[in-house]
Symmetry: C2
Subunit: 442 residues, 2 copies
Amino acid sequence: MSTALLTDRYELTMLQAALADGTAQRRCVFEVFTRRLPAGRRYGVVAGTGRLLEAIADFRFADAELDWLRSAGVVDDATLTFLADYRFTGSISGYAEGELFFPGSPVLVVDGTFAEAVVLETLALSILNYDSAVASAASRMTWAANGRPCLEMGSRRAHEDAAVAAARAAVVAGFAGTSNLEAGRRYGLDTIGTAAHAFTLLHDDEESAFASQVASAGPGTTLLVDTYDVTRGVELAVAAAGTGLGAVRLDSGDLPTLAREVREQLDALGATGTRIVVSSDLDEHAIAALAVAPVDSYGVGTSVVTGSGAPTCGMVYKLVLREGADGELAAVAKVSAGAKSSVGGRKVAGRRLEGGIATEEVVLTSPDADVPVVDPVAASGDVLRPLHVPLVRDGEVGEAWTGSEGVQRARERHSASLAELPRAAKRLSAGEPALPTEVVVV
Amino acid sequence: MSTALLTDRYELTMLQAALADGTAQRRCVFEVFTRRLPAGRRYGVVAGTGRLLEAIADFRFADAELDWLRSAGVVDDATLTFLADYRFTGSISGYAEGELFFPGSPVLVVDGTFAEAVVLETLALSILNYDSAVASAASRMTWAANGRPCLEMGSRRAHEDAAVAAARAAVVAGFAGTSNLEAGRRYGLDTIGTAAHAFTLLHDDEESAFASQVASAGPGTTLLVDTYDVTRGVELAVAAAGTGLGAVRLDSGDLPTLAREVREQLDALGATGTRIVVSSDLDEHAIAALAVAPVDSYGVGTSVVTGSGAPTCGMVYKLVLREGADGELAAVAKVSAGAKSSVGGRKVAGRRLEGGIATEEVVLTSPDADVPVVDPVAASGDVLRPLHVPLVRDGEVGEAWTGSEGVQRARERHSASLAELPRAAKRLSAGEPALPTEVVVV
């Protein structure tokens, strides 16, 4: 499947004009960053990088795409000829997937000709904005859960393909598994799920539904006990599976109270090893409120796939450096309106650590062609951990970042970066970004 | 591309147990409905129906899907054998795409065996929940725009495939076009877009950028005039294209004031026919605030693809009628927790109209196998407009609802249904659902 038409029309009309006037071959650097975090959030989580690299490899214009562009009159023949041979031959660096970001963090740097780099804008932003929105919400949930597993169950509340990406992003940010089968297949994720209320209702009574499920899935299954009366449901569940019953799931009601009652009932029945899974409109705040309840894992749906109030990131893809008519590279930036101004020049970034604790995001930029270097050890003894990693070199995608290996690596990066944050950053309450961003022109 | 794994794992584990215990072949009716609208919203818009029907036709388990299910140990061999031959042979009726809905509206009714119907749950909800969220927001924007065209430009703020669906849903709800090329190709939508700030910055100065764009796209193009100084930008734009310049776009700043100034400047320059397009974080409220500004069209991004604060609908897929061990059909419903209870029994619906104005959503249900009939003409002279249309009959998808014809038909349905609403329903301010829903057990 080509990804080439997952693109705003203006990328191609700009390309047409630039091919005609000769500027299309100018070397350009575009950067992806966000101007602000969602209100009250302390940090964001970069996600989608691996998916983006896979999508760039599939960004090719075959006959089907070219025929439609021609028939719809989107671009002229010269542009179609260019697109027929299109592949990205430039280089891309960026924050490793799973890394934390802050306002102004240069999370992706795309270096190539204008023609090759501009057409990737829409695709890059679609992927990074959605996946990062999900991962940023999921990260808050996993630390609110404080070690108890979070399970992603939100496929039905997201576009059917977004659901696959959401499952992946949630796992990057620490979720233990997902209900989504395609995400399991594509990225090697653990998939979970046993039964819905419909299964109980299909049967003539709860006893026969539970007996059927235990016969099919074994006593280690999770039985959903709240279709009728919960107390009766728990009793029947243990009767059906024995005290080795894997888990019961509660999907409605006042969960803190209910979990306590069900735990007591299970223990009294001798099912002391039977776990309690809760679901039902959980978000990070509801998870935190269940911290002292005897709950063993959390099924999270709507809130994680919709970014818990922030369904997209505000990441933008901006031209920051370009070759001029004189052949020299020069920093550029939109300058008209205050809120949308940005800093020109190519950037690199490091995270300052004092005694292992992050204290600052340092963004280095230069007004000319030189690429600033992040010096890992400052004179003061602080560490400046470099944040950019190479993702694409001369058109070759780094394999370490894609597929299921990429997800695993991103998950580790996320966990390590989160461990560096000061304790105050891990509050659910609204506040300023956890780290200030210092921009240094060198 | 098979859509079969865009599915929660529990649909297949339920299937396995039901195949083993003999209940899989019981006739079942599942219904899709929502318990509430997003806070303050007056109505919702059904969208995605055409996409769902296309996705159901592609819901087949081929070797790739079966091999993974086997290797991951999701289901047993008997279930894999069933899935290998799976196709939906039942019937589906529902609200026509583009129709308005209210809490309790039975927007989709799926009638088939448990085995055939249960596995469609996740896919049906993913599509209807996302597409309806976008269309519900887009509908508010199009009437806030009061006849001025709204253009969908939000691809970069949504998952890359969700963006295609969002463009389609926005057009169903009255948008005039989209920036998304794949949506243009797949659904025959008008695509729009000319240039971003990067195109101006690529060039050595604004003059050469505008000259290049006019040479490439003709003077009827839209020039983006806010990269540097807007007044100077407008002057250069008219100098480059002449007074026949198609439009200027403003993407930042205080738009009501700026639009007025730019209109005066354009008129003074003789460019009286040059239109003004505004973009920059517009939502329905910002559009309404521009009602008296001299603006010709609205480019809408983030807010439309994220449902303007409501990024998903709360639609659920519930078993309401099923065959029991006695072979009789019986109404069923979850009964434990108040908020999640629902009304059992198969439903049909009609919209009551008095003098052409909608006054009530009437939902008829029956506790047994009989399907209630909506009688179009009540004794009082009111009209009860039937809301269900046949979508799939014995596995055959109605072609009128899919592809670009389906989008066009949905757009007409939306427009006609909106015209029936009382004036008070078309307020942006928060309020109760525009129509009460009356459930009648017959």
